[in-house]
Amino acid sequence: MKIILLFYVLGLCTLTTFLSPQKSREESIKAGREIYHDFCVQCHLANGEGVSGVFPPLKASDYLIEDIDRSIAGIKYGLKGTIVVNEEIYEGVMANQGLDNEEIADVMNYILNEWGNHFDGQITSQRVADTSDLNLNK
């Protein structure tokens, strides 16, 4: 009986680990930090400040937070054309980096909560999956 119970508990643990619908907010931010330092840091820099007029800032960025789905779409589909960030104009191209939905959720959670940024909720991979490129034109 004890053995059965042990297997039951172990099995339950395994299931929760592997079938868990999403990471905790903290786990997602941690994973997002890795993604950020692999895919984003060259342009937006470790301090999130970017390069004025060339690469927009993520730190204290009005563009980033005023429409979260637009920001998700920017990472998911790539972003080009004129955008205005903190009253400065940017006209570059941010290529689609080929990240999957979960990776995009993670990096969003990271940049929304780093460098003094704060976001109460959590971006889920489901929300990324539901975000269409129509959000870019808003």
Partner: protein
């Protein structure tokens, strides 16, 4: 405590050393501009590679995985491409024509690949294919770097040819600098040499070395994104992205170790040192290194006399500072650096067309042709 203090002092000095002075000659902005530019084709986000079929027809790769044939300012997509694995800096990279393209219509491409049945991630591959109109056939995988990686960095890659029937291409260190570039049994951080049909030349430098990748021509590279053949000497010139500081120009020779990451003039993006060594008797010094880094992309020599005073000069795109750099070389030394097309945008590539003009790929714009003022 005392130990800690001396450690801190030592660290301070190392960091000081790391923050090296700008490497001369310093970049200049020309007072007199003797050229303008025309847009050859627009609406290409990242025009990574370029190859002229003739004066009027041009192949251009879009990193996201499109190959365009451009004619009279119009671009048309070519079908039949192999599947492109787009991630980070990887995607559809360079395109180049077989030396006998006019007879056999064969072209070569480098791209990020995850072939069927592969593990997760991708790595750089070299393909050949035959171009018929707007369609590719005989698409053949000639080389695929392994193992796959989900890292976004350092795929390379340019393609060039020598006169003896070889094709050369580079693969970057794939974000695994401490493992790949110095290990001949691993791909990444290498320049490769193959016969035009993809077979391995019998006289490749490491064919007899046990465990070595036989296609390797040179090693110890970080991220080679510029390669061109010198119009007079036939030597292969390469440029590669260093870390912060320490982008390099190298003249590629078989069997040579170019040092990454054992020696470098650069430091980590975080400001910490990678190594305190900038030289080693068993490793080649760069022909030139950039401090600060310019983010060098494609490179080309101007061999035509079309531009006043530019003949024999080397041109390299700067992704970071958004200009095309002109380097004047005398007695095997860079003696002058100058900005061309200053603030034009992220320069991804430059080639000399068969008509002798310089063509520049600029992100978000397309292909520009530099025209001398009358």
């Amino acid at each position: 405590m005392k130990k800690n203090t001396s450690f801190l002092i030592a660290l301070f000095f190392i960091v000081q050393l790391g923050c090296a002075q700008d490497n001369p000659p310093y970049i200049e902005t020309s007072q007199q501009i003797n050229y303008s530019y025309e847009v050859v084709v627009d609406g290409i986000d990242i025009p990574w590679g370029m190859a002229f079929i003739n004066n009027n027809e041009l192949l251009v790769t879009e990193k996201s995985g499109i190959l365009y044939l451009v004619k009279e300012g119009q671009k048309k997509e070519i079908s039949g491409l192999p599947s492109v694995y787009v991630r980070g800096q990887g995607g559809l990279l360079d395109v180049a024509l077989h030396p006998n393209f006019s007879e056999n219509n064969i072209l070569y491409m480098t791209l990020g690949t995850n072939t069927e049945g592969d593990e997760e991630g991708g790595n750089t591959s070299l393909y050949s294919a035959t171009l018929n109109g707007f369609e590719l056939s005989n698409v053949t995988l000639l080389y695929k770097a392994t193992p796959n990686s989900k890292k976004g960095q350092h795929w390379g890659s340019r393609i060039v040819f020598d006169q003896e029937g070889h094709v050369y291409f580079g693969v970057g260190d794939r974000g695994n600098r401490d493992v790949n570039p110095q290990d001949l049994s691993r791909d990444g951080g290498k320049i490769y040499r193959l016969n035009l049909d993809g077979s391995i030349p019998e006289d490749n430098p490491f064919v007899d070395e046990t465990g070595a990748k036989k296609a390797v021509f040179s090693f110890g590279h970080r991220n080679p994104q510029g390669m061109t053949v010198h119009p007079d000497t036939g030597a292969i010139w390469e440029n590669e992205h260093g870390p912060q500081g320490g982008d390099e120009i190298n003249i590629i020779k078989g069997g040579v170790n170019y040092g990454w990451p054992k020696i470098t003039y650069g430091i980590n993006y975080s400001g910490t040192p990678i190594t305190d060594k900038t030289s080693d008797p068993d490793m080649a010094q760069p022909f030139y290194y950039w401090v600060p880094s310019i983010g060098p992309s494609g490179m080309a020599f101007s061999s035509s006399g079309i531009y006043k005073d530019w003949k024999g000069n080397l041109f390299v795109g700067s992704l970071k500072f958004e200009y095309l750099e002109r380097l004047v070389i005398e007695n095997n030394k860079v003696i002058k650096r100058e900005k061309v097309l200053d603030k034009i945008g992220r320069v991804r590539n430059v080639v000399e067309g068969p008509d002798g003009f310089l063509y520049v790929g600029v992100e978000g714009k397309g292909i520009l042709k530099i025209v001398p003022n009358p």
